[in-house]
């Protein structure tokens, strides 16, 4: 009986390992391509390279202009995260604790942004950025991404703050604390966990965002990593499979490392973020 149970567990592990390998297969096979020459790729797509050509990754980094793209992505993601986290924390406090008349209507206004697809705004958003001279600027993209991320930020922070015991806030108020003091001394110190979740999700969204940069950043020097990678296949490198696969490796390897290091937070965050 015990032997049968052990056999079952072993069988489960065999099956799970098979599924895990099948899941990773596409990434592994394309990752291998980055180290092979184009001739090797054409001759035998599945075989590992004869020699591991790490220099190809370095070449792709330079030729693909990835240093610029990485810097651009940071210039966009970091300010977007800061704006979304700070503004939506303030707004959530306002909606929950600051005794604002009409706060339900305000909440509804934010929730409107949560339920619509990005396509609902892209045409006028494009023309607005042209009119304001923001086209082809990182600042314009930051404002657009922050506006898109704001509803979810407000939603997340509000649902956290609604769960806080009102007595602490009222007690502080009776002690004569102003709203700003209550926010700074009472609410902020206990809000770091949801704020970090929001920051992680917003960073991922901003880093992976494709449609807004595609529309708003037409100057090749301004491209983010995601957009730069996209243009790798359309332009000069269409038939250069080594280049494309090296680009894939360069852009996804850091994310994968961070993911496996912070797996628990990522999975928890992504399941919360599924509302978006």
């Amino acid at each position: 009986m015990i032997e049968r149970k052990q056999l079952n567990i072993l069988l489960l592990h065999v099956l799970l390992t098979f599924f895990a390998l099948a899941t990773l297969f596409p990434i592994l096979i394309i990752g291998l391509m980055a180290f092979k020459t184009n001739n090797e790729i054409f001759a035998a797509p599945l075989r590992p390279p004869d020699v591991w050509r790490f220099s190809q990754i370095a070449d792709a980094w330079v030729q693909g202009n990835f240093k610029t793209y990485y810097l651009n992505s940071i210039m966009v993601s970091v300010p977007t995260v800061l704006i979304v986290v700070s503004c939506s924390t303030l707004a959530a406090y306002g909606l929950v604790f600051a005794r604002l008349k009409g706060s339900r209507i305000m909440l509804g206004l934010f929730l409107l942004g949560l339920i619509m697809p990005l396509q609902a705004v892209v045409i006028p958003l494009f023309h607005l950025q042209v009119a304001l001279g923001l086209l082809n600027t990182h600042f314009g993209l930051v404002l657009a991404q922050a506006a898109v991320g704001m509803p979810f930020g407000v939603f997340l922070m509000r649902s956290f703050m609604s769960g806080l015991p009102r007595e602490i806030i009222e007690a502080a108020r009776i002690d004569g604390a102003t709203d700003v003091e209550i926010l700074r001394r009472v609410v902020l110190p206990i809000s770091t966990a949801p704020a970090m979740t929001l920051a992680t999700l917003q960073f991922m969204y901003s880093w992976n965002d494709f449609l807004l940069p595609l529309m708003l950043l037409q100057d090749p020097e301004m491209r983010t990593v995601t957009l730069g990678l996209f243009y790798l296949q359309g332009g000069t490198y269409t038939l250069n499979y080594t280049m494309i696969s090296a680009g894939v490796l360069i852009t996804s390897a850091p994310i994968m490392v961070v993911f496996f290091a912070l797996q628990r937070q990522f999975i928890a965050g992504a399941t919360i973020g599924a509302v978006k």
Binding site: H13, L16, F19, T23, P26, I27, I30, M33, I41, P45, L46, C87, S88, L90, A91, Y93, G94, L95, A98, R99, L100, F110, G113, L114, I115, M116, P117, L118, Q119, A120, V121, V122, I123, P124, L128, L143, A147, M150, V154, D179, N208, F210, L214, T226, L229, Y241, I244, G247, V248, T251, S252, I255, M256, F259, Q263, F266, I267, A270, T271, A274
Partner: protein, 307 residues
């Protein structure tokens, strides 16, 4: 303090004014920053899209021609729009069927092993966090008839005619992209089902065993009903995601060949930014918005109820 009195109406007015000012101040302080970004860059364009959907406009000229509901009428006579919405339908059906099926199976298997559960979960979840542009490029290479492993496989087993350009063929492009899209979703389903399985009462399983229920029956009558919340949640998420899908289609085929893999979002983008019909594009955006908003409202109310 003792001199302070509210008996005179002047002082009373003063008090009310102060209160009103304080309210405005709190509004500006707490909601101001968020609204400053949100109103001009999201709410205003949203309203503008609805307005634009009643106009004909090439995106450049000064004048926008008011055409009433013409753009919406045109959508229902538009063959490519019909293809797009059908493809969105294929996305919905496929992403409910395949990832949820595999997700459930994997979750059940994972729930029975202790060692390595975290590693397996991480591997299955990894495609969820990978950038969709990367996913599109990776799968584009997999399907590539010259260098892709799929073509190599079919040649090796003696079916070279199957080593074709799956993305370049009007009848296989959509299924090929959908499969790549499903690859990024089954890990999510696995995690959600795994969370649900932790709440299944082991006593119920034991009771069913006592009653002589086999493994299949226990699964059918105890486990599956316990996961109904997760199933509903995943169905709604699949529907929303399948309507919104844009990135992966745009990267892999741009909606081609000859619009065969178009979905509403890519077709809307093409009409607006490549075909110069922004009024029509706006109308398509409005239709998409109504579909997604309906499904999203269902999701939000579902989540509120579950919490």
């Amino acid at each position: 303090m003792q001199s302070k009195t509210y008996s005179s109406s002047k002082a009373f007015d003063e008090g009310r004014r102060k209160k009103a000012l304080a309210l405005i101040g709190r509004y500006a302080l707490f909601l101001g920053p968020a609204l400053l970004v949100y109103l001009p860059f999201l709410l205003y364009p949203l309203v503008q899209t609805f307005v634009l959907s009643f106009h004909e406009w090439n995106g450049v000229s000064e004048a926008k021609l008011f055409v009433g509901l013409d753009n919406f009428r045109r959508a229902f006579d538009d063959d490519i729009f019909r293809i797009s919405i059908t493809n969105n339908g294929i996305w919905v059906v496929a992403s409910i069927a395949l990832p949820m099926f595999f997700g459930l199976i994997l979750a059940v298997m994972l729930s029975k092993v202790q060692t390595g559960q975290r590693v397996y979960t991480g591997v299955f979840f990894a495609p969820v966090v990978i950038n969709l542009i990367v996913v599109g490029l990776v799968w584009g290479l997999i399907y590539n008839p010259l260098v892709g492993p799929l073509g190599q496989f079919f040649r090796a087993i003696g079916y070279p005619q199957l080593a074709q350009g799956w993305l370049g063929n009007t009848s296989t492009a959509t299924p090929a992209i959908v499969l790549a899209g499903n690859w990024t979703f089954f890990g999510f389903c696995t995690v959600i089902f795994l969370q649900g399985l932790r709440t299944v009462n082991p006593e119920q399983i034991e009771a069913a065993m006592m009653d002589g229920a086999g493994a299949v029956q226990r699964f059918r009558y105890v486990t599956v009903p316990a996961l109904s919340n997760q199933v509903t949640l995943l169905v709604v998420i699949s529907v929303i995601g399948s309507f919104k899908v844009f990135d992966i289609v745009y990267v892999m085929t741009k909606g081609g060949p000859s619009h065969a893999s178009e979905v509403i979002a890519t077709y809307m983008y093409w009409q607006s930014f490549e075909n110069g019909r922004q009024g029509y594009g706006a109308a398509l955006a409005v239709l998409l918005t109504l579909l997604v908003a309906g499904a999203s409202i269902a999701l939000v109310s579902l989540r509120e109820r579950q919490n």
